[in-house]
Amino acid sequence: MLDAANTNDVAVDNLLEVNNIEVIYNHVILVLKGVSLNVPKGGITALLGGNGAGKTTTLKAISGLLASERGEVTKGSIKYRGGAIQHQDPAEIVKQGVVQVMEGRHCFEHLTIEENLLTGAYTRSDGNAAIQQDLEMVYNYFPRLKERRRSQAGYTSGGEQQMCAIGRALMSRPETILLDEPSMGLAPQLVEQIFEIVKSVNEQEGVTFLLAEQNTNVALRFAHYGYILESGRVVMDGPAKDLRENQDVKEFYLGMSDEGRKSFRDVRSYRRRKRWLS
């Protein structure tokens, strides 16, 4: 698919366009204050930003899950393949090929791992054989899940649940996956592995990814394009490789100073962080 190195000079058509959206929770709490993004088809786009920047909110706005949190998109538009989706039902949006892997896992506790995965295939109608095949594929990606396939998801460890959530999303054979913090709580080699999986799914199956990630380091290695959110606004965007080179990003998101990686022990003196906006 896209070459991670030089996305900026390829003219791409945008699968998903978010235009200047505003999101309010509970009718009073304004969280997104005009966020715009473009997600090119077949690309991996990263959404970066600190806690509470509004990454999750953006993803939920796209997948239509805001309504169930008493949030609403009050301004702007979200278009998928050119059609507005901001007022559609989440199920409709999934049918169009967009699934979200929610932050904090959200497995179906009382269902077994395998049932969880099968539920992922709810919208599919291409027959049992195809579904079984994909099940095998997921088990291939995550052998640990295969071992625990008969366990109730509620009793598996945090990391196992995370794998289950990602596998479940893959089961719907989506065109676009919105990944919310996939690396959270995963062991380091698994983080690598998950991103490898993302990459290979992206390359082999052409699935488009929009991922919100705190682990900027990995995210920018695998993504093609990145947006940085802060307090509900996009403060910086650009091809991943440019972002990686950016001095501020380096310092605040990658934890690098001019001398290379800093030790966490050296951070003890209080230091005022630079804000783009405040």
Partner: protein, 358 residues
């Protein structure tokens, strides 16, 4: 713009912890209390007291009690009717056994007895949770009603099986029986209602209240950070039953004057009080009042509008009343799932910003 907190500065933790930290709220609260104590008693008549104020005040106490259990401690209970019955029968036995003692004491003692019974029936809550517990508390409800119906000692062997409140006074003022003055019964209940609200508020803002809320929000985590779940739950059951017992005692002795247990304290009562706190707002003292007002006053209001003003047949009005109350519950929930109290809070939050949208 009219409603704001700017300019309110708290300079000590004590100030920060007061019930109404915003000055505007505080004044409004004093105003309401002033009217309730110095205006209402002078203008009320029998109708206002017996049809509106007494039920409202008494149900508010029950709602506060149940709210402590359900709203603050998260233990859903459907035993309210039964516990009110305990309060009522305890009060009756005390009134008839010790006629010379002040009603004040009787009512408090009735609350105490109910607290003990409540704690006893709270024991299963250690193992049983959620709706299972709710249904389990129905065992208390049915058993207590059956018991009071079955054992003649409770109704002093009267032929009818009903209990009726003899005339009793407090500080020389008659407050039970047919010859009471409207203002006296009103004031008597008001004192208990205000007292209950204050005590409930005090309990819920301190460490006891936090224990309850911790158990409610996540009992396992609460236990791991050091809350003894059995004690927290039992105290919630006891305190809650204490208030419910008081309200049952008042309900019987002051408001109705005569009750039959199955009729007055049946399962419907349990549901009614539960509805009050859910509509009003779980975990909110104000919500208990709002819910009680909603379910006591709204039907009367609808009746007055339908029957007295519009002149519709009573049965159609009664049916419409069900439809409207049911519809309103749903509408309120959709507008704000956390009850009238939350609706009020959000409205205030908006008012604070007004006229700016955010």
């Amino acid at each position: 713009m009219f409603y704001r907190e700017a300019g309110d500065f708290n300079t000590s933790y004590a100030q920060d912890q007061q019930t109404f930290p915003i000055r505007f709220d505080r004044y409004r609260y004093y105003l309401v209390l002033f009217i309730a104590v110095f205006v209402v008693p002078f203008v009320v008549n029998d109708y206002w007291v017996n049809s509106l104020f007494l039920p409202f005040l008494i149900y508010a106490i029950a709602a506060i009690g149940l709210n402590i259990l359900v709203g603050y401690c998260g233990q859903v209970s459907l035993g309210t009717g039964g516990f009110m019955a305990v309060g009522a029968y305890a009060c009756y036995k005390l009134m008839t056994a010790m006629p010379e003692v002040s009603m004040f004491i009787h009512i408090l003692l009735a609350g105490g007895i109910t607290a003990a019974v409540g704690a006893l029936f709270g024991l299963p809550s250690l193992r049983i949770k959620g709706f299972y517990l709710a249904v389990a508390t129905l065992a208390a409800q049915f058993f207590l009603v059956w018991l009071f119906n079955r054992v003649p000692w409770f109704y002093n062997y009267s032929a009818s099986g009903q209990i009726s409140a003899p005339e009793r006074d407090t500080f020389g003022i008659l407050i039970t029986g047919p010859n009471t003055e409207a203002w006296a019964t009103y004031m008597f209940c008001l004192i208990f209602t205000v007292g209950s609200a204050l005590v409930a508020r005090n309990l819920t803002r301190g460490s006891v209240g936090r224990k309850w809320m911790a158990i409610r929000d996540m009992d396992i985590a609460a236990e791991i950070i050091g809350v003894n779940p059995l004690r927290a739950k039992l105290t919630a059951f006891a305190v809650s039953s204490f208030f419910i017992g008081i309200s049952g005692a008042l309900f019987f002795s002051i408001y109705l004057g005569a009750v039959e247990v199955g009729e007055a304290f049946g399962i419907n009562k349990s549901f009614l009080v539960l509805f009050m706190i859910i509509i009003g707002g779980l975990g909110s003292i104000f919500g208990s009042f709002a819910g009680a007002a909603f379910l006591v006053l709204l039907p009367v209001l609808l009746k007055i509008v339908g029957v007295d003003w519009l002149g519709w047949p009573t049965d159609i009005v009664a049916h419409l009343q069900l439809v409207i109350v049911g519809g309103l519950i749903v509408v309120f929930l959709i507008a704000e799932p956390h009850g009238l109290a939350q609706l009020w809070r959000v409205a205030k939050e908006k008012l604070r910003l007004w006229p700016f949208p955010h």
